[in-house]
């Protein structure tokens, strides 16, 4: 193995995602431990903010530039990561734990017979070997885990690792790759965006509602608060199973496990499946009538009162604070 860490970057609608910069910083950390170089790998046809990666201390990127790669193609992307792997003899492959990263990383692992450590939440670089920590049972437990394979695939959970700005003296070298005969056997032919809303998996702030809201139309209270905060709307399983909210908003086991900076739980009592999915949020606010609800055991700040009174007041107060 040469000492290379490949940072697989992700763009959507021609913009590198925030998680990609986190991937770069994470890769730099791994690289410093094993005295390796970080090389970015990116796919697309016209990426607006590619030069931003230089700010994060990256001076080399392999760019597979082609109209057909603007949308994800599992078969083509896998082939090309393997091509980059062969060319650079990379030891580590770092992805964001996104829908794309989750799909692509194991395919790369399978081709290389490389172990995969998914959804990494922290890494310990102090010992002889690198030890990764990831959640299991939706976060009810953690495992410390290491690789046995020569090549290693890691996905990192968004919003956990900081994207650190760092200077490099070298200019950014973009290696444009000619691509031909792409294997497009499996490919995305259309992207259907949900109506203008942020996704809970990517949001810095989440306002979630549960059965305490009593009816689907009352979620407007949650949406109003989310709007003033620039937050995503989440929901408990009860609210989703009742058909009040779409499954993509469900937080918890059998939904999404999230780690935003701020999580506001409204009318959610805190079933164990829900707590597992959101306890790793940095700050948690709970608003619930029942002061004995389990949600208060994980909340930093609680208001044991009526969501129907508190939510509008909170929305107004934050509007004032932001004005």
């Amino acid at each position: 193995m040469s000492n290379t860490v490949l940072a697989i970057l992700e763009q959507r609608e021609n913009k590198l995602k925030k998680v990609s910069f986190e991937v770069l910083s994470f890769s730099k950390n791994i690289a410093s431990k094993i005295s390796a170089e970080v090389i970015g790998v990116v796919f697309g046809s016209n990426i607006d903010n590619l030069n931003d990666i230089h700010k994060y201390g990256i001076s080399r990127v392999i760019y597979y530039k082609c109209e057909d790669l603007a949308n994800y193609s599992p078969s083509a992307y896998t082939d090309l990561v393997i091509e980059a792997a062969t060319e650079t003899k990379a030891e580590y492959f770092i992805f964001g734990d996104t829908a794309l990263g989750k799909d692509l990383a194991p395919r790369v692992g399978a081709r290389l017979n490389a172990g995969c450590i998914m959804d990494c939440m922290s890494v310990d670089l102090t010992g002889d070997s690198i030890v990764f920590t990831r959640p299991v049972y939706a976060g009810k437990a953690l495992i410390d885990i290491e690789f046995k394979s020569d090549q290693k695939v890691v996905t990192i959970r968004p919003n956990i690792f900081k994207a650190n700005v760092s200077e490099v003296s070298q200019e950014l070298k973009v290696e444009l790759k000619e691509v031909s005969n792409l294997n497009l056997k499996t490919r995305v032919i259309e992207y259907k965006k949900s109506e203008g809303k942020l996704d809970v998996a990517e949001a810095d702030i989440i306002v979630s509602g549960g059965r305490g809201l009593k009816a689907p139309e009352n979620f407007s209270l949650v949406e109003n608060l989310a709007d003033v905060l620039g937050a995503a709307v989440g929901a408990s399983r009860a609210a989703v199973d009742a058909g009040w909210r779409p499954h993509r908003e469900q937080v918890g086991q059998t939904g999404k496990t999230v780690s935003p900076t701020l999580y506001i739980a409204c009318g959610i009592s805190g079933a164990i499946q829900h707590l597992a999915g959101m306890s790793s949020s940095k700050y948690i606010v709970a608003i619930n009538k029942d002061k004995d609800a389990p949600i208060f055991t994980v909340a930093d700040y609680g208001v044991a009162g009526d969501v129907f009174e508190i939510l509008p007041a909170l929305t107004e107060e934050i509007k004032k604070a932001k004005a």
């Binding site: 049972y137 965006k193 208060f296």
Partner: protein, 248 residues
């Protein structure tokens, strides 16, 4: 069409996880095991596929004797036969995928369904690895699927929307909640399942590519404080979020 559905036998999501003495696995005492919730969507889709195109549905599970319970559940829903790929070892996702791929190949299945992840290790990678080992296509996290001859059209859930994916058989499809409404096993189905065959095969020893050093509980969050019980608490809450937490 020969259809495989891969099943995993997992602790109920209501389980309060306790760490076992070896600090590598959970303590199974008192834990109720169920069919992986995402696998129920996979079973339903497998049955619908058979109903539409004819053929046979085989449920395959990697695990110990206890996994038969979840295979039985799939048989009760209407799956034709079960195969238990037996091991006492704790395999990583690669080991599981290798065993599944070998069996799927031996059974000559054209389409394979499984849950997008098992709610124990939450890796969400077994389907993709299995497909690569078989040289099959794979679409993961699927909430809608249409099969037209050799062509597959699926919608997969991603951040902020859905991707429409075109692919072709043979393929592995991993099921996300929303793909369908899994049927309940009828009484007749449950009775019939008792007569259905579950084939047992020992799987060859395989090396894990990752090693769990330790399983532990996350540091429990210290409960904070209840600031108030009505709207009068709101200004204080906003002040704390602004000045103490510095999040707004």
């Amino acid at each position: 069409m020969k259809v495989a559905v891969c099943i995993s036998h997992v602790p109920d999501t209501a389980t309060r996880v306790k760490i076992g003495q070896d600090e590598k696995l959970i303590d199974p005492t008192g834990v109720v095991y169920i069919i992986n919730p995402y696998d129920e969507f996979a079973v339903e889709e497998a049955l619908k596929t058979k109903e539409k195109f004819g053929g046979e549905v085989i449920a395959i599970s990697v695990g110990n004797e206890n996994s038969k319970e979840s295979i039985r559940k799939a048989l009760a829903m209407g799956v034709d036969k079960g195969i238990l790929l037996k091991t006492e070892k704790i395999l990583d996702s690669f080991g599981i995928a290798r065993a599944l791929a070998d069996e799927i190949k031996a059974q000559q299945c054209e389409i394979v369904f499984m849950g997008k992840q098992s709610v124990d290790y939450d890796d969400s990678i077994v389907g993709q690895i299995t497909s690569e080992l078989l040289g099959f296509s794979c679409i993961s996290n699927v909430v809608d699927l249409k099969i037209e001859g050799q062509k597959l059209f699926a919608e997969r859930e991603i951040e902020g929307g859905k991707e429409v994916v075109e692919s072709e058989t043979p393929a592995v499809i991993t099921a996300q909640k929303g793909l369908n409404e899994p049927r309940y096993a009828s009484l007749k189905g449950i009775m019939a399942s008792k007569k259905k065959e579950i084939l047992e095969k020992l799987i060859p020893d395989t090396e894990n590519l990752t090693e769990v050093l330790r399983m532990r509980k996350p540091v429990a969050k210290q409960p904070g404080r209840i600031i108030g019980t009505d709207v009068s608490a709101v200004p204080e809450l906003v002040r704390l979020l602004h000045e103490e937490a510095k999040v707004i």
